[in-house]
């Protein structure tokens, strides 16, 4: 009994000493070492792995570049050896492209619009699909990286990094407004926002401007919130009930990953198509 007590005592002393030492070491970097030690480690920002010159390389950055390069290489190889009778690999790529093309066409219902916008939306869908599903590979979240004395997750889904999501959203927002101008002309586009036919139409037009910018926030936070909260949910479940607990939530995560990846470009397409179709209807 006393031996065990002694052993426990020494371990406690050792751990305390360790904690003390680490606290001293971290004091400059982190003031809240105790929270850092807890099982659930949630951070809203992506964590820096190392610095490449002046650029901090975060855990979501390398994932984003890996996925982009992998997609470019795979599709370049597929485009290089196209055959009239497709092999297995070409058939796989063709199935993805025609499936997503038909999905986009079913939303626009306009051959001209579909032909002009599908490359951008198809790429967005594929990138989001890959990055969301990449996060579903089991065990990746357990990998840790030691940097400057503390441990951070080596891996983070791209869409769980708000900077990446807002960048994609802003690009698509500009692209969407430019496309609307291209199809209905600048007069039709500005007529929606600045209507001088009366007091009430003028107020409605101003509200439309606010509504258009609110879409940036709601679109980007829908994607970010779903993926980020799913990561946190699985992490919490892993802490409460290890091994079996996260399985149903991982299945749910698989579903949200696919749905959100397709829904984000689909919503932008619907909003874009709404402005184009509304204008066309007014002129018939």
């Amino acid at each position: 009994m006393s031996e065990i007590d002694h052993a426990v005592d020494t371990t406690v002393v050792e751990t305390e000493a360790e904690v003390h030492a680490t606290e001293e070491a971290y004091q400059e970097v982190h003031t809240e070492t105790h929270e850092e030690e807890s099982l659930i480690h949630v951070s809203l920002k992506p964590e820096t792995l190392f610095n490449l010159g002046p650029i901090p390389v975060t855990n979501s950055l390398w994932v984003a570049y890996t996925i982009s390069i992998a997609l470019i290489v795979i599709f370049a190889i597929a485009a290089r050896n196209l055959k009239a009778v497709p092999g297995k690999f070409q058939l796989f790529i063709e199935t993805i492209i025609t499936g997503l093309y038909n999905l986009i066409h079913s939303l626009t219902n306009n051959e001209k619009v579909t032909k002009s916008v599908y490359p951008v939306f198809l790429t967005t869908m594929l990138f989001l699909l890959c990055s969301n599903l990449f996060g579903q590979i089991p065990g990746l979240m357990a990998l840790e990286w030691h940097t400057g004395g503390h441990e951070v997750h080596f891996f983070r889904p791209v869409t769980a990094d708000y900077a990446a999501v807002i960048a994609i959203t802003l690009f698509l927002f500009v692209y969407w407004q430019v496309t609307v101008v291209r199809f209905i002309g600048f007069k039709g586009f500005s007529g929606k926002f600045f209507n001088f036919s009366g007091v009430i139409p003028f107020g409605v037009g101003l509200l439309e401007i606010i509504g258009e910018f609110a879409k940036i926030i709601s679109l980007s936070f829908r994607l970010f919130g779903n993926i980020f909260s799913e990561e946190v949910l699985i992490m919490v479940m892993l802490a409460i009930a290890p091994v079996l607990g996260p399985i149903p939530f991982s299945l749910l995560g698989l579903l949200t990953s696919v749905i959100q990846a397709l829904l984000f470009p689909m919503l932008i397409l619907l909003f874009m198509n709404m402005s184009i179709a509304e204008h066309a209807k007014g002129h018939h």
Partner: protein
């Protein structure tokens, strides 16, 4: 009340209330569109795209409350 504790309560309440009511709204919307498709299956595609837009607009309220909760917790 300790300000830290109040923060946790506020974030939890923001998501709980801000998530519950839009969920109710979405449920009503899906019920209505399912009924419409059940009565007239020919309008399936038209109802589907309208339902998605309306659900997106309703869901943005839930998303704003999520943003507020995240701001309370992390910023």
């Amino acid at each position: 009340m300790n300000p830290e504790v109040a923060k946790l309560f506020a974030a939890g309440l923001a998501v709980a209330l801000g998530g519950a009511l839009p969920a109710l709204g979405q449920a009503i919307m899906v019920k209505a569109s399912m009924e419409a498709v059940g009565r007239n299956p020919a309008v399936k595609d038209d109802v589907f795209s309208r339902m998605i837009i309306a659900m997106a607009l309703t869901e943005s309220i839930a998303i704003y409350s999520l943003v507020i909760a995240l701001l309370i917790l992390f910023v």
